[in-house]
């Protein structure tokens, strides 16, 4: 059962990223990405990380992609991007991607293979919250500062009136 869910979610996720590469319409790209991130949220759930799964769907598939869609509508690009002509560039990118994939696969295999004995499961949401507010308290507080800085920065950069 878990395998079936895993395979369906992974295939959907990878397939929609592939569709994003093939499609030339930005709005479609963003919607494919929403699908990919939602599937990824499901995969997070399979990994016993319900909070990360919820954050993934809320923040990524929700907030960030809505931001992207707003930006796309602001640009209001009527015509889709013209066909990519440079075959060489695509070929080089494909080679780079394949090499990178092989490297990552080998690294991941080595990282997981030796310690295949599965230790105790993480102690759920309560443990996560405790960890977040004790050991990682400084990082947590600094994150709030970071978000404030990003908010102010975005306003300072793009908040001005057109032509001002």
């Amino acid at each position: 059962m878990a395998w079936a869910v895993f395979v369906i979610l992974s295939v959907l996720c990878i397939g929609s990223v592939l569709a994003m590469i093939v499609s030339r319409n930005q709005a479609h790209n963003a919607l494919f990405l929403v699908l990919a991130f939602s599937c990824l949220g499901g995969l997070f759930g399979l990994l016993d990380a319900p909070f990360a799964a919820a954050a993934q769907v809320l923040v990524y598939a929700g907030a960030i992609m809505v931001l992207f869609l707003f930006a796309i509508m602001m640009f209001n690009l009527r015509e889709p991007a013209p066909r990519e002509k440079r075959r060489l560039r695509t070929l080089l990118a494909a080679i780079l991607g394949l090499v990178l994939f092989a490297e990552l696969a080998v690294a991941g295999w080595r990282a997981v293979a030796p310690g295949s004995a599965s230790p105790a499961a993480p102690d759920g949401l309560a443990g996560l919250g405790r960890l977040l507010f004790t050991e990682y308290l400084y990082a947590f507080e600094i994150t709030s500062l970071l978000i404030l800085a990003a908010l102010v920065g975005a306003l300072a950069l793009a908040g001005k009136k057109e032509g001002a």
Binding site: I14, A36, G108, L132, Y136
Partner: protein
């Protein structure tokens, strides 16, 4: 029980596809989306490792990554909007002033 290696494999595929999309695509917005795909692949790998090692710290780091990604998306989109206002295009093959 799904082994963590399977999740790591999916994460590797996603990351490579993100890199591929970043180099194949030529508009800033889609390239930016490719960066988000890479961030998510890293998150998946982190969670798989967290499951494999039994440490909840991996999940905490994933939360931080998601927050930083949100901040990064806001700033990045603001910069893209600025570029569009000044140049009326976000095609990277028309934005090559810095090419030597």
């Amino acid at each position: 029980m799904i082994p963590p290696a399977a999740f790591l494999l999916v994460a590797a595929v996603l990351f490579s596809l993100g890199v591929l999309a970043f180099f194949v695509k030529k508009d800033l917005l889609t390239q930016f989306m490719a960066v988000e795909v890479m961030l998510n692949a890293a998150n998946l790998a982190l969670l798989a490792m967290a499951k494999a090692s039994g440490l909840a710290a991996g999940q905490v780091i994933v939360l931080f990554v998601i927050t930083v990604a949100a901040a990064e998306a806001v700033i990045g989109l603001a910069i893209i909007v600025l570029i569009f206002r000044q140049r009326r295009t976000i095609r990277t093959d028309e934005l090559k002033d810095l090419r030597g």
